[in-house]
């Protein structure tokens, strides 16, 4: 069968280019062939980007959900085999409320999941594929990486109060140092205790430059393993052209009830928000009573489609 690539539109070309990258690294294509019950998503709604879900009644009377997310469904349907590594990629339409239009939209999403025996090398591979996904779309990209266990340690140094730590995530995500200090003061925590967290948030830049500063800041905090894992995962970029495009920044946060360890976001010059996000989600696996580790990411193709020169990149031709 001959396929003329000229008949493909921009989004189709992008989807196939990403699939080529993922399958070239041994990721098997996963298709969501069925719908899940609404109850499954409602129990884990904080994991979803939007907790509004389109529902419908199945022929057997069960209330079903129209694909608000891909990761949850993959985890649910995959056998829990912590000794095996499942490498899966997907491109699927999902249905969720757009933050900008405040109405339901059909959104094309591509991504991959590594589930099972996830180790540092596996996290490194997923990071490198996240960078490769961004490079497919534009030569001018940034992959921003954070480590939630390190952030959690700095939050815990301020207070053990769960409510305060959760409240601090908002100013942390905004790099709002005056907000961090004010919140600590209001809640009765000593303002000086916020100083190390503020210093952590000021660290931002290519990982090669920031890692030594981070290690100095983390000294005597019992974070040797977290630092070693982070350094190990990032070493996949050592000596590569992507090294300067991978930045450490601890203002990147995700829901800690689900995510842990390394998390990341991707940005493309001229697009206003993140176009890719992902990370390790072992905490979600434990909530779903799975023993396996997990890491993955999603690429928001609806955002990338807005790139004016999309399709002119070599990778898409």
């Amino acid at each position: 069968m001959n396929i003329d690539l000229n008949v493909l539109d921009r989004l189709e070309k992008l989807t196939y280019a990403l699939r080529t990258v993922y399958m070239g690294k041994g990721y098997a294509r996963y298709r969501l062939g069925k719908f899940e019950e609404y109850d499954f998503y409602s129990r884990n709604k904080d994991f979803l980007i939007s907790d509004n879900v389109i529902t419908f009644m199945d022929t057997n009377g069960k209330l079903m959900a129209l694909k608000p997310d891909v990761t949850l469904a993959i985890v649910k349907n995959l056998p829990d085999e912590p000794e095996t590594l499942h490498k899966l990629c997907y491109d699927e339409n999902v249905y969720r409320v757009s933050r900008t239009t405040n109405s339901f939209m059909e959104i094309m999403q591509a991504g991959l999941e590594c589930i099972g025996a996830v180790d540092t090398a596996c996290v490194g591979e997923v990071l490198s594929l996240a960078a490769a996904s961004l490079a497919v779309c534009s030569g001018d990209y940034i992959l921003e990486v954070s480590q939630l266990d390190i952030l959690e340690a700095f939050l815990s140094a301020i207070s053990d109060d769960r409510e305060l730590k959760t409240a601090l995530l908002k100013p942390v995500s905004e790099k709002n140092l005056h907000g961090v200090t004010a919140l600590c003061r209001e809640s009765g925590a000593e303002a000086e205790k916020a100083e190390p967290l503020c210093r952590l948030l000021k660290l931002s830049g290519p990982y090669g430059r920031v890692l030594p500063e981070l290690e100095a800041l983390c000294a005597h905090r019992g974070l040797e393993k977290e630092l070693s894992d982070l350094r190990g995962a990032l070493s996949v970029f050592d000596g590569t052209a992507a090294a300067d495009r991978v930045v450490l920044d601890f203002s990147a946060v995700s829901n800690m009830n689900y995510y842990n360890g390394v998390i990341f976001q991707g940005f493309i010059s001229s697009l206003p928000g993140s176009v890719l996000s992902g990370g390790q989600y072992d905490n979600l696996m434990r909530r779903l009573r799975r023993r396996s580790g997990a890491v993955g990411f999603a690429v928001y193709l609806d955002q990338i489609e807005r790139l004016e020169n999309l399709g002119e990149e070599d990778a898409l031709c």
């Binding site: 709002n176 005056h178 206003p272």
Partner: protein, 209 residues
């Protein structure tokens, strides 16, 4: 180009003075004109003058890389942005005000007139109080007098307008001042210039915030 959204009006004038002193000038802006976009090609700068309520949208959507906006707007819209600096100017507070002698009996939904429905909902939801939000765009202070609402949630600077309309503050929500906000993606690609702006503005705000 570094795109900067400033709020129209007196606050915008003060903020521009600070940007100019920080080494981010655009002399055209001083000319008395009806234009809303001002450029300084030599410094690779473009300033927009937009409604204060809209600054956060311009920055969140990436039309502006940097903007200056009140904390009231940030609290209302919760935009996905970086809030890098409290400029310490445009100080006032968000408050609940009511006619003299008002007592909330707790019966029925409290009628709240406001330009900030999300702020009002969050405040009363945290206190377990049902409210009926009446969204207005201005002259909020007359709503209780005309029987439109029981209380108002609004910005209070000196309290003079409240007093002249027979109202008094019954609860303070949070202090407000102008904040420097930055689009998250812009910060990744124009971080050095933005950091320089933040450093220079910080020098001017020391002691104010």
């Amino acid at each position: 180009v570094l795109n900067i959204a400033l709020p129209k009006g007196r606050l915008g004038d003060t903020v521009y003075d600070m940007f100019e002193a920080a080494g981010f000038p655009c002399p055209d802006i001083r000319a008395n004109s009806r234009r809303l976009i001002f450029e300084n090609p030599a410094e690779d700068l473009r300033f927009f003058a937009v409604k204060p309520m809209d600054v956060a949208i311009y920055v969140e959507r990436g039309a502006a890389d940097v903007g200056v906006v009140g904390k009231d707007v940030l609290a209302e819209f919760s935009p996905e942005i970086y809030e890098l600096l409290d400029l310490g100017i445009g100080r006032c507070r968000m408050a609940v005000a009511a006619p003299a002698g008002f007592r909330d009996t707790g019966r029925g939904a409290l009628r709240v007139a406001t330009k900030y429905p999300a702020v009002a909902r969050d405040w009363y939801a945290a206190r377990g109080r049902d409210i009926d939000v009446i969204r207005l765009n201005g002259s909020i202070e007359i709503a209780p007098k005309l029987g439109l609402s029981d209380v108002i949630v609004d910005i209070v600077e000196t309290g003079a307008t409240l007093r002249e309309n027979g109202l008094a503050v019954i609860e303070d929500l949070f202090p407000i001042s102008a904040r420097l906000i930055v689009n998250k993606a812009s910060y990744k690609f124009k971080g050095e210039r933005i950091d320089r702006l933040v450093r220079e503005l910080s020098r001017q705000t020391e002691g104010k915030a």
